[in-house]
Symmetry: C2
């Protein structure tokens, strides 16, 4: 059986990771098309030991496509995803364009793959990176004890903002190492040797767009609009690998022992199960380049009986973006 | 009137900052003695445009000393602080040695200077850096609405661990900038381009010593043993400047508007009062080298009515250590 896959935004940092992920996981594609905007059309991207020529992402480019993996930003997704879907492709879009649409399921395969069945627009949305890794860990706990309130502080990597941001952190780091003062162009200031909140303002005053994504997407994926989510999203001078400190309260008491038991069996989770010891915890440097969501520091709360604390780390380009999209595609074809 | 000040641990990163702070703030000392262990005795440290010869910190070195600022570690403080106090000095100790002793007040001048009056052992403890900046911000809110529960995630700088740690982060950053793999000696792994929890294990399994300090010290300084504190302490690749994401619940509802009003008038606080915008928030790079506790992102909680969120940044060597100790001394002599 043939399966034609298009990767839209193929030259971006997530688009390239999508191609790499299709290749590494031996996705059963009979054809893979690399698509991008006019600016990048004509360039080449590596794939399966060779190269793909990048074609213009226009309506006709989706003729015959079964699955279109989009990572081209929200504006392009709003325009092109319906065109791809109208031609019969199932779109899996990594942007925020369709995440809030009640007719577009928002899917993390380990948590709510069933939701992907009902896709009247032919579009499945891939969640935000910081939300994906959190719900992979919290999903099994929510299923057991129903989440009531989550306080999450993030430690997010530069690559979540794309190639230019990664490059800028690397050049800022060189500048800092040479004793200079890093300057921000992509970032609103120095990230090397510093911390930044660099996301756009959200629709509520005092909150960033990234923070509100975590609120809305967590509720939608877990299928519970009453879950309280209190995020503070922070960029740290790490190239790849998002980390999160999570405090979670449930409708019925959850113990760390029960949570560990659930997480040990949870798909996509690698549990760090030792008691606290310095350096023996999930780290972005170790999670980068891997597929799992690393969960450690699972602790009974000291103040709120039945509440839990966790430390969650994952590769934001893989499970946080490309891998999650490809896993959705795998389940669709499998 | 004469006022003889001793700085114990004068060659350490906080000891040097204590000398610099005494100088910058024109502390009315008629004599300043630089003391240290046998390893450092005989060396010289800069002070008031000249140098002080570092003398051995032994009992006799405290003869005639009015105020002894200690930053020599817990073991030295346990041994030497009582000897200094027995000779009539008021000891202000930056280590953890005396913080839990009910006979030693634990003081942040803006919050509980009154507690310093009752010091039967002649020893005042200077709190942990991460606790000081948090209680400077939360103290006025606690006074108004009584804190019930605090969830705090820290983003702590390398200099909190001393000279060797600062140097190692800098050399790791050079290694990373050159494309190499940073190695940890002082740290239990790479901190450059990564995150670490590098503190010793605490007395409770699953918690680090740093986290338990934040629990116990917050309660003691704010004088309320019922305050729930849920900390996750994390080291980030920043040389100086601790940051904290704080979620706070109170016994009566507190609004962001009320909190801002209280924080605008709070001693030691510099309030960032704008709505969220990228890069317009307190940052460690800007706080380093300054005296204030920077508070921003004051937000009504989205989930818990009457709860608040804040982002708190300060120089961990100044307000987090040396400055707080010198401010205590200033109030004692003033």
């Amino acid at each position: 059986m043939s399966c034609v896959v298009a990767v839209v935004g193929a030259t971006g940092v997530v688009g390239r990771e999508m191609l790499r992920t299709l290749e590494l996981r031996r996705f059963p594609a009979t054809e893979v098309r690399a698509l991008a905007s006019a600016r990048s059309a004509g360039s080449r991207v590596p794939f399966r030991g060779g190269e793909l020529e990048v074609k213009l992402a226009c309506a006709e480019a989706f003729d015959g496509v079964d699955i279109a993996l989009f990572s081209a930003g929200a504006a392009a997704a709003r325009e092109l995803a319906p065109l791809a879907a109208a031609r019969g492709a199932v779109v899996i879009d990594n942007s925020s364009a369709w995440r809030g649409d009640p007719d577009c399921p928002l899917v993390v395969p380990e948590v709510n793959m069933d939701a992907a069945k009902n896709r009247p627009k032919g579009i499945i949305a891939n969640p935000n990176c910081s939300t994906i890794q959190m719900v992979v860990a919290l999903g099994p706990l929510h299923a057991a004890a129903r989440l009531k309130h989550v306080v999450v502080s993030t430690y997010q990597a530069a690559s979540g903002k794309g190639h230019a941001a990664m490059d800028e952190l690397i050049s800022q780091t060189r500048e800092l190492a040479a004793g200079g003062e890093p300057v921000g162009n992509v970032f609103p200031g120095a990230l090397a040797g510093n911390l930044l909140m660099d996301w756009k303002a959200g629709s509520l005053p005092d909150w960033s767009e990234e923070e509100l994504k975590m609120v809305n997407e967590t509720r939608k994926i877990l299928g519970d609009p009453e879950i309280g989510v209190t995020p503070t999203t922070v960029r740290v001078p790490v190239v790849t690998g998002h980390s999160e400190a999570v405090h979670a309260q449930f409708h019925r008491p959850m113990t760390a022992a029960e949570a560990r038991e659930l997480l040990r069996r949870a798909p996509g989770v690698r549990l760090f199960d030792e008691p606290y010891a310095p350096g023996k915890h999930p780290q972005p440097r170790e999670a980068a380049g891997t597929d799992d969501v690393f969960v450690g520091r699972v602790r009974d709360d000291l103040a709120v009986p039945g509440a839990l604390n966790l430390w969650i780390v994952a590769d934001n380009l893989r499970k946080g973006a490309a891998l999650n999209a490809v896993q959705i595609a795998e389940r669709l074809v499998g």
